[in-house]
């Protein structure tokens, strides 16, 4: 980058190109202050969480917010706590790194623990946040699909109150959520897994840390008779938001989870997903990967459910 130097009498001014467009910056220390800023500047203000998606899009000027409300100083948005009944609560500003290393997550939400290392690169996980990723709603991101697979509850707040939104109703489309302009995601509740439940996650990317061509999360509950009582299979990167493979799950429900049954479920995917082609992969290849990942994650989830 070139640096332009102006010499004016004995003073020297340096200036250099700026990547993002100008914005007003607020760094509140308490949550209510942040919410009041969002109320005052609803529609103009953008929340800055870890910035690992927002700042690149600002550097490209794809995003040009006029006001940023930085949540990095709001301490009570950080942290992971066990919830009563065996679930857990994750503060929206909790860094991926903390989730990745949390023993509470490993024990109570092994699906999330399994998926964390797939999220971008170590440096991105050091800064990026759990809530930021969910609120950004990138269809290629892992956490939205996991939230849907685990029936997570999103707690969103504005200056006058809060509401809980089930993950299935939170994601509305490409980078679009149910959040109103004056609201922010403050906390996510991951409910406990039923007994005899196993989970598995896998994705395929050309290089580790790249956005996945396809990813799949499976949650399988076995009944006492060994048949599949409940099954949920959720995909990322095959639509404009997390896609629940309802037909594939239906094929497996009530069945003994044999290799053949799992293969039949994977075949039924054609009715559930319609992957698109892009420069990274053809639609056919994404479909092929989806079936492979469905088979692998379902088989692993079943195996873990048997041991649970």
């Amino acid at each position: 980058m070139s640096v332009i130097t102006f010499h004016v009498s004995r003073f020297t001014f340096q200036t250099y190109p700026m990547k993002p467009t100008p914005f007003e910056y607020y760094a509140p220390r308490i949550r209510q202050e942040a919410l009041e800023l969002l109320a005052e500047y609803a529609g103009e203000a953008k929340v800055l969480a870890g910035g690992q998606s927002l700042v690149p899009s600002m550097n490209f000027r794809l995003a040009q917010p006029s006001i940023l409300v930085d949540l990095n100083g709001v301490d009570d948005l950080f942290g992971i706590t066990p919830a009563e009944g065996g679930g857990l609560l994750v503060g929206a500003m909790t860094r991926h790194r903390m989730v990745e290393r949390s023993s509470i997550v490993a024990e109570r939400a092994p699906l999330i623990a399994e998926a964390m290392p797939y999220i971008a690169h170590p440096q991105i996980r050091n800064r990026g946040t759990f809530g930021g990723s969910l609120a950004h709603a990138d269809p290629a991101a892992e956490l939205p699909a996991l939230a849907v697979a685990l029936d997570a509850q999103m707690r969103v707040q504005n200056a006058s109150g809060d509401r809980w939104i089930p993950a299935a109703d939170f994601f509305l489309g490409l980078f679009t959520t149910a959040l109103e302009p004056d609201e922010m995601l403050v906390e996510v509740e991951i409910p406990p897994l039923p007994r005899r439940t196993g989970t598995a996650f896998e994705e395929f990317a050309r290089r580790h840390g790249d956005y996945a061509l396809v990813g799949a999360a499976a949650v399988v509950t076995l009944g006492d008779d060994g048949t599949v009582a409940e099954c949920k299979l959720v995909f990322l990167s095959v639509g404009d938001m997390p896609v629940v493979a309802a037909s594939a799950s239906e094929v497996l429900r009530g069945q003994r989870p044999t290799e053949d049954a799992i293969r039949a479920a994977a075949k039924a995917l054609a009715a559930d997903i319609e992957p698109q082609a892009d420069i990274h992969a053809t639609a056919e290849y994404r479909m092929h990967l989806s079936k492979v990942l469905a088979r692998r994650t379902l088989a692993r989830a079943v195996q873990r459910a048997s041991g649970a």
Binding site: A27, P56, N59, N72, P117, P122
Partner: protein, 175 residues
């Protein structure tokens, strides 16, 4: 839309008034003259701009300078105060030919510093995963992996500072 930045970089305190939109990477390079932090892709992919923020490797191109207020930053310049006295991690890269053009090296070093503190004897796979967020277009990574193994061995031998590295090199020179 200016804002105060009060930040500690490599142990020194700096106060500046900058535009809110100034990236930490550009702040380090242009305001503080610390050009060891390199700027490659500027959207968080290449890892060349990696610095330590409160001891943790982050992309300085994805952080605004104003966000660094009240925090401490370490850049590659913080590894050693003297170009003739390499930090053992730098010395390992030198000895194992862990760089060619060197553009990616500062980001790699800053990624590795805390990694090697936590992983005293990393496997090749652990090393490659740790470096997955740092692109190198010259080396093919093999010599980088070798350098990391050498750096880990130096640490295990208790060589963790430029002074200790210089002592070892001095002894080797006398043989």
């Amino acid at each position: 839309m200016n804002h105060d930045v009060d930040v500690e970089v490599n142990g020194e305190s700096y106060s500046r008034q900058v535009e809110t939109r100034l990236l930490l990477s550009d702040f380090l390079r242009h305001e503080l003259g610390l050009t060891g932090t390199h700027v490659g892709c500027e959207h968080g992919v290449c890892g060349a701009c990696t610095v330590l923020l409160d001891g943790v490797p982050v992309r300085s191109c994805l952080t605004f300078a104003v966000q660094a207020t009240g925090h401490s930053i370490m850049t590659v310049e913080g590894l050693s105060g003297d170009p003739d006295d390499l930090h053992p991690l730098q010395a390992a890269f030198h000895e194992a030919h862990g760089l060619q053009c060197g553009f990616c090296t500062p980001g790699i070093l800053m990624t590795l510093l805390p990694f090697l503190e936590e992983n005293t004897d990393p496997t090749e796979e652990e090393i490659r995963l740790a470096l997955s967020g740092n692109l190198c277009r010259c080396t093919g990574y093999q010599h980088i992996v070798d350098a990391v193994k050498l750096a880990a061995a130096k640490r295990r031998d208790g060589i963790t500072t430029p002074a200790q590295e210089a002592d070892v090199e001095g002894e080797a020179g006398m043989l």
